[in-house]
């Protein structure tokens, strides 16, 4: 019996690895199908409810996130965490702890997306405490969790806390023996994003460019993760006023995302959203509105109508609509943006302040009602 179950568990983990390989190759639909085989194998062997199922579910949640199926991912990772908590007494080895760290980190990512920054940060701090105590500060688990904590603080606009968390990740990474260059690429991406949030493209561009180079060398230029880097680098170029470089970066990312994920994917919309603002900055408000409405439709479908990304998209759309002279409509859009962002980001968040500013400007009695 033990040999049979051992074989089945090994087979399931092989399917899991193949699923993640498909995900890494930019094919999440195929990845999900393969992961289903892993769960089926465990089911047939009577191995549900143990460490192996938790391992597969953590992978399934990552794949569902990549597909933009965030609600499904939440349910899946909740099930994985439940199994790991139930089995905590039985599994006391480092592998089990690493898996628990991965599951908690993924759950914190979903909490962050839902606007629960406090809950996400608390969860990640528990992970960091356990990982550092059991695996050591110079461990991959600490690098990963500290990086995730930096992302939470960045989205909450607590930029000093984000700097500290990313600094902890960088310090732990520097102490790893023979670290994967992709880890450095990921951290450089995020440090570039933090510089973007600080309004400091001069600091962020060299970091982001170095991250793109490292990742493109490792994965090839057409990989979706390189496209994520290119979208972030484009935002830094845009902030620096380098609009031609920004458009080139965005269009490069967009081509990869549309090819890998299709026209209605979350990452496609993230890139379209930045391209729309670039058109607004260039005074092409018609194109800005068109792209803005396209990504608004995608975000609403993928994330729900009250998500913070929807709020920011409405705010940017308001600027395009105002640019076309439809100020009353712009005021309505800005009011919707402000209402959403008030519920989704902390008081004083830059996006919330921008929404209040826009609402004040568009509400002035100067609407001609005529298109620009």
């Amino acid at each position: 019996m033990a040999n049979d179950t051992d074989t089945a568990a090994g087979e399931a983990l092989c399917w899991r690895d193949q699923a993640l390989a498909a995900l890494d190759e930019g094919n999440p639909s195929r990845a999900l199908s393969i992961a289903g085989q892993a769960l089926g194998t465990l089911e047939a062997a009577g191995l549900r409810g143990g460490l192996d199922e938790a391992a597969v579910l953590v992978a399934v949640a990552e794949i569902e996130e990549a597909l933009g199926r965030f609600a499904d991912a939440g349910g899946t990772i909740g099930a994985a965490v439940g199994i790991l908590e139930d089995c905590a007494a039985e599994y006391a080895d480092d592998d089990s702890l690493l898996l628990w760290c991965q599951a908690q980190e993924r759950q914190a990512g979903l909490e962050r997306m839902a606007g629960d920054f406090t809950g996400a940060a608390a969860r990640l701090n528990v992970v960091l405490d356990r990982a550092s105590a059991s695996l050591g500060e110079a461990s991959l688990a600490v690098v990963s969790a500290a990086n995730a904590l930096g992302i939470v603080y960045k989205y909450a606009s607590d930029l000093d806390a984000a700097t500290a968390a990313y600094g902890r990740a960088a310090a732990a990474l520097a102490r790893l023996a023979d670290p994967d260059p992709l880890l450095e690429a990921g951290l450089l991406h995020n440090l570039g994003g933090l510089a973007h949030s600080r309004g400091d493209p001069g600091a962020g561009i060299p970091l982001a460019e170095r991250g793109v180079t490292l990742r493109a060398e490792a994965l090839g230029p057409g990989h979706p993760d390189v496209a994520r880097d290119m979208n972030a680098l484009g935002a830094l170029y845009q902030l620096a006023g380098r609009h031609a470089d920004a458009e080139r970066s965005y269009r490069s990312a967009l081509a990869v995302f549309e090819d890998a994920y299709g026209p209605d994917h979350f990452e496609t919309a993230m890139t379209l959203a930045n391209l729309a603002v670039l058109h607004s900055d260039d005074g092409d408000f018609a194109q800005a509105e068109s792209l803005g409405r396209r990504c608004l439709k995608i975000f609403t479908a993928v994330l729900g109508p009250d998500d913070a990304e929807v709020g920011l998209t409405l705010l940017n759309l308001a600027a395009a609509v105002a640019g076309r002279g439809r100020t009353a409509e712009a005021a309505e859009l800005a009011a919707r943006a402000a209402a959403i962002l008030t519920d989704r980001v902390p008081p004083g968040h830059p996006h919330l302040l921008a929404a209040a500013d826009a609402l004040g400007q568009y509400s002035q009695p100067r609407d001609s009602g005529q298109p620009g």
């Binding site: 033990a2 179950t5 051992d6 568990a9 090994g10 983990l13 690895d17 993640l20 890494d24 191995l47 409810g49 143990g50 460490l51 391992a55 953590v58 990552e62 089995c87 039985e90 599994y91 006391a92 080895d93 480092d94 592998d95 990512g109 990963s144 990086n147 995730a148 992302i151 960045k154 989205y155 994967d180 992709l182 990921g186 951290l187 991406h189 995020n190 994003g193 933090l194 993760d225 994520r228 979208n231 972030a232 935002a235 845009q238 993230m270 959203a273 930045n274 603002v277 607004s280 900055d281 005074g283 800005a288 920011l312 600027a319 105002a322 640019g323 076309r324 002279g325 921008a354 826009a358």
Partner: protein, 69 residues
Amino acid sequence: MTGRDGDIRRAAARALTSNHSRAVAQRALATNHSRAVARRALSLNHSRVVARRALSLNHSRAVAVAGRS
């Protein structure tokens, strides 16, 4: 002794020195759930449950300036 080889040797050493794995194997007789635990006790010399994954990435979103027109 680094990386997976190191993990394997450390795990094997734990399996040899710990009473924990014997206790786990005994529990395996009782329930289906414990069969997965028993498998772990018998095959601690692999660390395959954890897949190495990339770091999470943030997004940088551009914000339009109101009243630029």
